[in-house]
């Protein structure tokens, strides 16, 4: 019998870890992975609250989050490939100029 707050605490820790990754890492691929961690932390919150309310809508929104995450990963990785072709680097600081 695990209380709801435990799941919320795990989710908050995972979300904070993802935020740290976005701010600390200097690699575009790792930043995208940190965004996936954050999305999954939110998924855990949705499912835990859905279980708390005995409602399936909490699980349905997880499917939509997964779909948006798949679209985001596809477009984001395509952008990473296009950027890498131009600068031969994955550091986001390499792409600070608007025109070259």
């Amino acid at each position: 019998m695990i209380p709801l707050s435990y799941y919320l605490i795990v989710s908050a820790i995972l979300f904070a870890l993802g935020t740290c990754g976005v701010f600390l890492r200097r690699n575009l691929i790792t930043i995208l992975l940190s965004i996936e961690i954050m999305l999954n932390a939110v998924n855990l919150t949705f499912v835990a609250f859905g279980r708390y309310a005995a409602d399936v809508n909490g699980q349905i929104i997880v499917f939509f989050v997964m779909t948006v995450a798949a679209a985001e990963a596809a477009v984001g990785l395509a952008l990473v490939i296009a950027l890498f072709r131009n600068r031969e680097s994955l550091n986001p600081d390499a792409f600070t100029s608007l025109k070259w």
Binding site: S5, A16, A73, A78
Partner: protein, 178 residues
Amino acid sequence: MAETIAFYLFSGLAIIASALVIGQRNPMYSVLLLVASFGAMAGLFIQLDAPFVAMALMIVYAGAIMVLFLFVVMLLNAPQEDALPYDHTHPFRHPVLMRFGALLAALLVVQLTYALLRARDLRVPVAGRSDASVVGSVGELGRVLFERHTFAFEATSILILVAMVGAVVLARKESGPQ
């Protein structure tokens, strides 16, 4: 008792794997550790009587999206971060701005802790409750998804199509007449 042990095992595994994801320098290890983190989260979802979400997480996330990440990591072949040449000119490498960012991060942690401490009804058990028949049934899930959320489901298919076309256009090698 077994449920409690499983909860601590899965949540600890998910947190440790996620911390290692952002601690790795090699993105290849990061992707593989994120797959481990997703496996642990699937265990948590099964404990919350959401087996279909757990399977979708393993098949869609760990099976498809992470393979996409692995392909890109192997395609680009840039295992190490090259942070040093850019650190001197970075606009945020400024003491005042760095202190402001640290203050914002601390405020996020304080806010989350405050919300979790002040909320009521949080002691209600969620895992291992007896009314699992409604939430855990895949048939009920499909019925609600295709009856009440039909429009959102169809809009999702358009979103995937647009993302696919966008990815092809963005990653295409620019050749031919410019």
